[in-house]
């Protein structure tokens, strides 16, 4: 049985934040889940996916976040508790349904979990999704710890049903990927089926209907504010003239700092866990008891602006600061020492930071950027394209996935990237605005997510570029999730359909479509050359299963290669291919047999044919 289905109330369990959130969903009686995977949210959906195999929970990997939220909107308007999860930028994709679903509302609880990523550990930006509360009008909840994240899920569902609208549960990476001890609670019976009751004056957003729905939404914001004022997740701790307003993980750093600085008798904290709408009455009451206030929040000055507005409304004139050159930055994530120092500075507390180890005499340590795995088919594809495009003035728009790493030297094949699917659509612009050869990359899952519409656009508007679809049979980067093109059996799924990328691309009307096996270098280069010579939109589908995934499915029978004494030390294997199975030892390239998976691409590159399979 999945550990998160353990029905033993009171038991303590060590859980990853994302596991705790998934358990919270079970304790809230969630019956339907939908997602598009994205770090740092992925383990929530992974847990729900696994549990759906052994319970009546329905869970699906949807093709993108917009689709996932629309799936959830249908389910939650049929009386079934539904959770939809995504990374922060996923909510941009789902922003269209979000904005109007806020007008329409739900008949059963709908919680939208969004995972922000301050510092961009694995993201393209560090946008602060709390502003989605303001723009949509929907409530936002933010936990400070793993335990609280679990507790907030059932609360969010109750709130959603009370207000009859979706609730956004917003985390940051340091909640999702922290681990803590949580206490299990009861698992209620799931209600897996409901019924949709027709209500066109609420559910069909023609202008006349929407005009009244917006009125309803504004009333709901007022109602939500009243609830926020009394919510257990907005609380004041301590007493004293110095006020600190904080949220999320910042609360932990503040609490530790107050102890470390020994200012507990002078300081009180307002912890905001229900942050949209901001609890105006509570904040105003807090301001009234303070001489000065520091707002500690990662990201944008979301709370700070509101606290200043409340201060102005009450004409209190209490000094309030947060984001400032000498205090907190809008950049990256915070850490305990930084928060301690800034609290000491702002409230003028004597404090000397502990001495920092002097590292002046430490030599420069070689960088260790992430790299494509040994035997990764993306590396083979990049190499083949590089050969086929030799001498051409190229632009390589790329996309989001492991293959983004192709932008690193020596491949250096990744010139433009803004969001999921941008490889295809930006290629339309590049090919129109330049005479350079445009070759773009997209993975199988990202193609389904948002590459298809760009390709339809390219055919319709007759653009001129080659799109390479890197089909490795899984959504690899986020931890090997399924997508519409995969063999569902490998994912313990049954009854799923399968969409052929080749048939789809042909049906769109692409006139030149070829399928390559990237480990076969010569044939691949020849097929790519033909595609590059084609005037118009051409597509190359490079098919080879992700080696990590193949390994974990025991589908790989590695036959390691070695560098024989025919090697003349050209090092072409290392300088142009950079497979991590290679290293230099005793001035010659060697292959680590434990790392090599036997793709044999290096053997096809070696000018001396010196790389040979190890005899068994």
């Amino acid at each position: 049985m999945h550990k998160l289905l353990t029905d033993n109330p009171g038991q303590k369990m060590l859980l990853l934040g994302n596991e705790a959130i998934a358990r919270g969903a079970i304790e809230a009686g969630v019956a339907i889940g939908s997602t598009y995977p994205g770090t740092p949210s992925s383990e929530i959906s992974l847990a729900l996916f696994q549990m759906s195999h052994e319970s009546d929970l329905y869970f699906e990997y949807s093709t993108n976040e917009k689709v996932a939220l629309e799936v959830a909107a249908g389910a939650a308007n049929s009386g079934v508790r539904t959770m939809c999860m995504m990374k922060h930028v996923g909510l941009n994709v789902a922003a269209d349904p979000l904005m109007t679903l806020a007008y329409v509302g739900v008949t059963a609880g709908l919680v939208i979990l969004v995972a922000d990523d301050p510092f961009m550990f694995s993201s393209q930006n560090e946008q602060d999704n709390r502003y989605y509360g303001k723009i949509s009008g929907l409530p936002i909840l933010e936990p400070s710890s793993v335990e609280e994240a679990k507790e907030m899920v059932p609360y969010a569902f109750d709130l959603s049903e009370q207000l009859k609208e979706p609730v956004i549960l917003r985390t940051t990476t340091r909640i999702n990927h922290s681990t803590g001890i949580v206490e299990l609670k009861d698992i209620p019976q799931r209600v897996t089926k409901g019924s949709f009751i027709k209500d066109p004056m609420r559910c069909v957003t023609v202008p006349a209907v929407s005009r009244s729905l917006h009125v309803k939404l504004l009333k709901n914001i007022k109602k939500a504010e009243e609830i926020a004022n009394k919510s257990e997740f907005n609380f004041i701790e301590g007493q004293g003239p110095w006020g600190i307003v904080c949220n999320g993980v910042s609360y932990n750093y503040v609490a530790d700092a107050i102890k470390d600085l020994d200012i507990g008798d002078k300081t009180k904290i307002l912890r905001i866990g229900f942050s949209h709408p901001m609890p105006a009455a509570l904040v105003k009451q807090f301001i009234k008891g303070c001489e000065k206030i520091l707002v500690v929040e990662e990201g944008e000055p979301y709370m700070e602006e509101m606290v200043k507005v409340f201060d102005q409304e009450e004409k209190l004139n209490v000094p309030i600061q947060g984001k400032a050159d000498e205090l907190f930055s809008r950049l990256y994530e915070f850490n305990p020492a930084q928060v301690r120092q800034n609290i000491a500075t702002y409230f003028d507390v004597p404090y000397t930071a502990p001495p920092v180890t002097d590292l002046a005499d430490v030599p420069e340590i070689p960088q260790r950027p992430p790299n494509l795995c040994a035997g990764c088919s993306h590396r083979a594809t990049f190499y083949a394209i590089k050969q086929a495009a030799e001498g051409m003035d190229t632009i390589y728009p790329t996309d989001i996935g492991c293959y983004t790493l192709g932008f690193l030297p020596p491949m250096a094949m990744g010139d433009f990237l803004i969001c999921m699917g941008s490889s295809v659509s930006s290629s339309c612009g590049f090919s129109q605005a330049t005479d350079q050869k445009v070759i773009s990359f997209i993975g199988d899952s990202t193609f389904f997510h948002s590459g298809i519409t760009g390709l339809v656009n390219a055919v319709f508007n007759n653009h001129n570029f080659t799109l390479v679809i890197l089909d490795n049979g899984t959504t690899a980067m986020t931890g090997h999730q399924p997508n519409p093109g995969v063999d569902a059996e490998l994912f313990n799924m049954s009854g799923n359909g399968r969409v052929s990328i080749e048939a789809l691309v042909k049906a769109i009307g692409v006139q030149h479509v070829s399928v390559i096996k990237p480990y076969k270098l010569k044939k691949s280069i020849a097929a790519i050359k033909e595609a590059l010579d084609f005037e118009g939109v051409s597509v190359v589908i490079s098919q080879e299963m992700c080696t990590l995934f193949a390994k974990s499915n025991k589908m790989l029978k590695p036959r390691a290669f070695y560098v024989s004494d025919k090697c003349k030390n050209h090092r072409k294997c290392i300088s142009t291919f950079t497979c991590p199975a290679f290293s230099i030892q005793g001035d010659f390239p060697v292959i680590d047999p434990d790392t090599c998976v036997g793709c044999a691409v290096c053997a096809q590159i070696c000018p001396e044919n010196a790389i040979l399979p190890l005899k068994k």
């Binding site: 803590g180 609490a255 305990p336 001495p355 005499d361 420069e364 260790r368 992430p370």
Partner: protein, 197 residues
């Protein structure tokens, strides 16, 4: 309870996540408050991975520069890189078997000299334990047991409020059944290596 802060640094794929999980489970068994934080995702593709484990009453799950009580490095150059997390009384444990990044093969960087590396870490911290953990893992029966070898050494230092018994129990419940015996052996070998260091 006193707060103790541990940083584990490794190269993606070396098994640091399991190491911190074992420590977390051991803390749960021993009623020691514990909080951990780690980075998943792109960094796991052969990049540097870092886990922070905080024992005791602190609420923060991450550790600032200069505030680790103990540092465990799975790879020597990564241990050196993580010295910014240490202070004068930090205990440092490192595996000495290098895993040079591909930037070295490409000639973009130079791998640090091992003697210099050891001298530097020793000079800047209070106790330095270094040994070839890969050899010990192989001796235990599985090169992937490097993480457990290092846990053995870590527990020997006595910095953390955890007993060897509780960690062994956590190994039995947390690591794959087929590897428990190997892992327990790995733990003992690491523990002894620290005694002898």
């Amino acid at each position: 309870m006193d707060t103790k802060r541990l940083i584990i640094v490794a190269v993606g794929g070396q098994g640091n996540l399991l190491a911190s999980k074992v420590l977390g489970e051991a803390a749960l068994l021993s009623d020691v408050p514990v909080k951990m934080s780690e980075i998943h995702g792109m960094a796991q593709r052969g990049g540097v991975v870092e886990s922070a484990v905080v024992f005791g009453d602190a609420q923060s799950t991450i550790i600032s520069d200069g505030e680790a009580d103990v540092l465990v490095g799975f790879e020597p150059s990564e241990t050196l890189r993580a010295l910014n997390k240490c202070k004068a009384n930090t205990v440092v444990i490192t595996n000495t078997a290098p895993l040079p990044p591909f930037t070295v093969s490409l000639g973009i960087g130079v791998y640090p000299d091992m003697d210099e590396l050891k001298t530097l870490i020793k000079a800047k911290t209070s106790r330095f334990i270094s040994f070839n953990g890969i050899e010990l893992a192989k001796e235990a029966g599985n090169v992937m047991s490097l993480n457990i070898v290092l846990l053995g050494a870590l527990i020997q230092t006595g910095v953390l409020p955890l007993t060897a018994d509780s960690v062994k129990k956590a190994i039995e419940t947390t690591t794959k059944q087929a590897f428990v015996e190997t892992n327990l052996k790995a733990f003992e070998l690491g523990f002894q290596a620290a005694v002898n260091a």
